[in-house]
């Protein structure tokens, strides 16, 4: 595998009972690049993200992050499921930002950001706090450090969630429709933070309906439908000159 590939998903398959949510989906993300996943609701975009950080176990195929097989250990001709502790270790370097923020409501913004560094990575509280404040400053929320999530707007909560993900010093951050739960006027403040993050060289996989963001920021775009990867390629090509008629239709529908 090329040294610059950070995420490689090959033929990932996921079934819920008889329903096939992911059907041999493949994807590749280069280090430092942004990949946007678009597609209609129910097409398996969230499921793919959740397989990457092991919130779901795939039924077939494989995902490698940083050349490490996710969820399994290979020994000779056998694949062993790794232990829960090993899974936790693999997840540490993969941040995730959810549609509904999922901040810890009993902790302040700063406490949310330092929770992982202190209680998972074992950093000193003082160091973590200092870095946590820097991260909050970076997402424009330095003065909200001691506010509880319930005292923040949706856009502010999502920016704290991004700072929380960055607190773990991830190699990769997954975004699952990060702006879909926001009031329209709050969308841009979150997208701006994500843009900065991309510019700083963070590798990101972003499920989004914001095609403008995809056009401006993404290096590659994947279009999924009904559990299949319909089209995957350079952002400019997929968005401006899609090869598949379904992709073209979807892009047109989102724009109108």
């Amino acid at each position: 595998m090329s040294k610059n590939i950070l995420v490689k998903a090959i033929d990932v398959t996921k079934n819920y009972g008889h329903f096939c949510a992911l059907d041999k989906v493949s994807l590749e993300v280069t280090r430092g690049e942004v990949c946007c996943i678009i597609g209609p609701s129910g097409s398996g975009k969230s499921t793919l993200l959740r397989c990457i950080n092991l919130l779901e176990r795939m039924d077939g195929g494989g995902i490698w992050v940083n050349d490490e097989l996710v969820g399994y250990r290979r020994e000779g001709d056998n694949l062993y499921q790794i232990s829960d502790v090993e899974i936790s270790r693999q997840r540490r370097r993969i941040g995730m930002v959810f549609q509904r923020f999922n901040l810890f409501p009993h902790m302040t913004a700063l406490e949310n950001v330092i929770e992982g560094p202190v209680h998972v990575l074992g950093e000193q509280v003082k160091d973590a706090e200092e870095r946590g404040r820097t991260l909050l400053e970076r997402v424009g929320l330095a003065e909200k450090a001691n506010h509880y999530p319930s005292e923040l707007s949706g856009g502010q909560q999502q920016r704290v969630a991004i700072a929380r993900a960055m607190g773990m010093r991830p190699n990769l951050i997954l975004f699952d429709e990060p702006t879909s739960a926001l009031d329209p006027e709050l969308v841009s403040e979150v997208l701006d933070v994500m843009k900065d993050l991309a510019a700083s060289g963070m590798t990101m996989i972003v499920v989004t309906h914001e095609l403008g963001f995809a056009r401006n920021v993404a290096n590659t775009v994947a279009f999924m439908e009904a559990g299949k990867m319909v089209e995957f390629g350079l952002a400019s090509e997929v968005l401006s000159a899609p090869k598949s008629a379904r992709t073209a239709e979807f892009i047109k529908a989102v724009h109108s």
């Binding site: 950080n53 919130l55 829960d84 502790v85 936790s88 270790r89 997840r91 540490r92 993969i94 941040g95 995730m96 959810f98 509904r100 999922n102 901040l103 810890f104 409501p105 009993h106 902790m107 302040t108 929770e115 992982g116 209680h119 998972v120 990575l121 509880y148 999530p149 319930s150 929380r164 993900a165 607190g167 773990m168």
Partner: protein, 291 residues
Amino acid sequence: MTTATTALPIAVDQQYEIAHLKLVPKRHVGRMIAATVVLALLAALVRAFSVGQIEWSYVSQFLFSPAILAGLYNTLVMTVAAMTLGIVLGVVIAIMRISGNPVLSSIAIGYVWVFRGAPALLQLMLWFNLALIFPTMGIPGLFEFRTVDIMTPFVAAVLGLGISQGAYTSEVVRSGLLSVDSGQYEAARTIGMTQMKMLRRIVLPQAMRVMVPPIGNEVIGMVKLTSLASVIQYSEILHNAQIIYFANTRVLELLLVASFWYLFVVSLLSVGQHYIERYFGRGSKSIRSAV
């Protein structure tokens, strides 16, 4: 209509002019009658007690007597011990129940079924009389002791009360765990927390908000439930009051002394519960505005 806004003018005819009318408050006749009746009954009750054959001097004499205070102390010790055991078991059983491991969750269901199914008094007596079926206990070859030596009234009462309490508390803990949004579990996992750390740092603190009121209720219930231990000769407050009135025949006076102390302890606990609720409600809007 001289407003600076661009709102449409609203016509105000005479029939809509009510600012000059006099406001007559609503009369609560029913409420007044009810209050009068209740107050009269209360006065009759107070009078009955004051003219009844109660020697109030005995009440005040025994209120702070060493035997009563020692009983009070034992009641508190038993409450803390039994409730601690109950909460620990409750958390363990609740986590076993939702663990997804069929063996563990079956054991948890069986535990709740058995220990919620028999009266606490009966369970207490079972533990106390355990020596009848297991004269000795221990690990053969390693250590062994006579059951009567360790199954003191204290130990039997802690086990009987704590284990049956654990069955109830586990249901409280389980409802608390279920009240935490699945997104919280996922967020905790994505920052690499292990199962135990997630429960301890993220899930339980949030579940506490739901759990504290019913557990407070259970602690208060336990204060009074410890009186069952008098049956197996544990020297809690009711037991000691009984010993005194067996000697001096001042039954009602001593029962009043015990009642006073129960009421006192329960009142203190209610105040404490308020502060604990406020602590675990931090970050939550509804509690905040209520304080």
